[in-house]
């Protein structure tokens, strides 16, 4: 998560000229990004659990042996 934020941080380090659009757009783009991060986090959690289950299965099998 931390690394991901650092990447986002570097990615965002470019700015320049302005043209007025709508004062709320930044907030919505931010939520879209946060939503995506949350989704990635959820995927990671799911696969991490699967990986843990797999490990525990392997160890259980080994113990039986």
């Amino acid at each position: 998560m931390k690394h991901f934020l650092i990447i986002v941080f570097i990615f965002l380090m470019s700015t320049n000229s302005y043209a007025y659009i709508d004062p709320g757009t930044g907030g919505i783009l931010l939520q879209a990004l946060l939503g995506a991060i949350a989704a990635i986090g959820a995927y990671i959690t799911i696969y991490w659990r699967k990986f843990k289950n797999l490990l525990s299965k392997i160890f259980k099998v080994k113990k039986k042996d």
């Binding site: 043209a19 757009t25 783009l29 931010l30």
Partner: protein, 464 residues
């Protein structure tokens, strides 16, 4: 306000328009407004929100009974708030309570499949020292996957001002008054440093918010397309975002700075006896006039109007220009005295008419509807410290209410002496006889009480 009068500040949302008649507050609904209100009535949501004290009491009423011109119109009647205050007049903890209230309300509504469509701090008022929402038309149905469109507005109205005060020790009030929409994210972003951004909440809601906002300004079409085609925001994420913000704000503390008046109540030059004399003058005054609404100018922690607000159940608005003292007064009165509402105003530059056409937010005088005014130990701070002519100060105080108390502090008084020690005595008109003559020009002097050994006197006046 006996005639029908439309509120000039009520124009941002065309769904409804506030108006007053015979001292009552009404709202005329447009077609969109009527639809929103119908939604609120569905499943008794309106009733529930009133009961839970999220919103002011609101009911439908017959337009024709109010005015012939309103025949056939959809009209709501709202509970009247004693005194309308603005976020730039609130202390740190008042704005913080309003922010937490807004987030709690938004979370509550989301769980009921409803939402707040905006996040203006002006939609929150204080009733008995508790925040309450006044704009019922800001509530609408929540549609699954919707974004929090008011995220940036919430940050600029609540989050950024609190952060400015908490991280940098800069009071938000004067800045907020200059820019009525709050503290802009881009401005705050320029002030914060690397260490401030190590907090994830600050990084996300200030740094990233600003970056993405800048990007959307560089390429508006790309940004709006991105918003249109981006994946929807789940309700769970929405509530998570609000809860995280709530958690962060609830821990914020104002960065302490010692102010001139911090130790005033301990260090002032009064003696115990003199203080009791002062209190008894106020008691007699309050018992005699039985006001229902009083203003205490230069209230400090509100010690002198406490008798009125506690024993006599009088609503008191306490005004002062020391934010630290006011914040302490708010925390204290929130716990044990709902009748005393402290508020920040710089007396030498009081809140004026502001906003669009100079009529969106009203000045302090325009909002005044007090029965009585008390101004103790105040005039020397305006005349001697701020060089405001004595007559102007008297005229200003007297304009607040039909009757009141004003304390005159002579030049011989130790506090006045300290004030003049560097400046020199350039105030030839500042003396008791002149004060009496001037006060008599604007009101009748009813009583004079000597309250200190240094010849401080309290004058009771009446304009009728």
């Amino acid at each position: 306000m006996t005639n029908l009068y439309y509120e000039p500040g009520s124009f941002r949302d065309p769904a409804g328009k506030i108006f007053y008649k015979n001292g009552k507050v009404y709202r005329k609904l447009s077609e969109t407004g009527a639809k929103r209100f119908d939604y609120l009535k569905k499943d008794n949501l309106l009733e529930e929100l009133i009961k839970k004290e999220f919103i002011v009491k609101t009911s439908e009423t017959n337009g024709r009974q109010i005015d012939d011109k309103l025949k056939g119109e959809k009209i709501l009647e709202h509970e009247k708030i004693d005194f309308i205050s603005y976020p730039f007049e609130w202390t740190f903890n008042q704005l913080k309570d309003a922010a937490l209230f807004h987030l709690d309300f938004q979370i509550y509504l989301l769980n009921k499949n409803a939402k707040l469509i905006d996040a203006s701090a002006y939609n929150i008022q204080f009733k008995d020292n508790k925040p309450i929402f006044i704009d019922v038309l800001s509530i609408d149905e929540y549609k699954d996957g919707e974004f929090w469109y008011a995220h940036k507005q919430f940050c600029e109205n609540f989050f950024n001002p609190l952060l400015l005060s908490s991280r940098k020790g800069v009071s938000f009030n004067n800045w907020f008054r200059g820019n009525l929409e709050g503290i802009q994210t881009s401005d705050l972003n320029s002030l914060l440093n690397f260490f401030d951004f190590t907090s994830p909440s600050v990084f996300i809601n200030v740094f990233m918010m600003n970056k993405l906002d800048e990007r959307s300004k560089i390429n508006p079409k790309k940004a709006s397309d991105k918003v249109k085609f981006s994946k929807k925001f789940s309700k769970k994420s929405f509530i998570n975002l609000l809860s995280q913000m709530r958690n962060f704000i609830s821990k914020l503390k104002s960065k302490k700075k010692i102010s001139d008046w911090d130790t005033y109540e301990e260090n002032n030059t009064y003696q115990v006896q003199e203080e009791e004399d002062k209190l008894s003058v106020i008691k007699n005054f309050v018992d005699k006039h039985n006001p229902s609404f009083l203003v205490d100018l230069g209230c400090n922690e509100g010690k002198y109007s406490e008798y009125a607000s506690k024993q006599k159940n009088v609503k008191v608005v306490g005004i002062d220009f020391d934010l630290n003292v006011l914040d302490r007064a708010y925390i204290k009165s929130k716990k044990n005295n709902p009748n005393f509402f402290p508020m920040y105003v710089d007396f030498s530059n009081p809140s004026s008419n502001l906003g669009w056409a100079g009529s969106e937010r009203k000045g302090l005088q325009e909002r005044s509807n007090f029965d009585c005014v008390i101004a103790l130990a105040l005039i020397h701070h305006l005349v001697i410290a701020k060089n405001i002519p004595l007559e102007d100060v008297i005229k200003w105080i007297v304009s607040f209410a039909p009757s009141g108390l004003i304390e005159f502090v002579p030049k011989e008084d130790p506090t006045a002496k300290i004030m003049m020690s560097l400046k020199g005595d350039i105030f030839k008109d500042y003396e008791e006889k002149k004060f009496e003559t001037l006060l008599s020009k604007y009101a009748k002097i009813k009583n004079i009480s000597n309250v200190t050994s240094t010849n401080r006197k309290i004058y009771e006046f009446n304009k009728n």
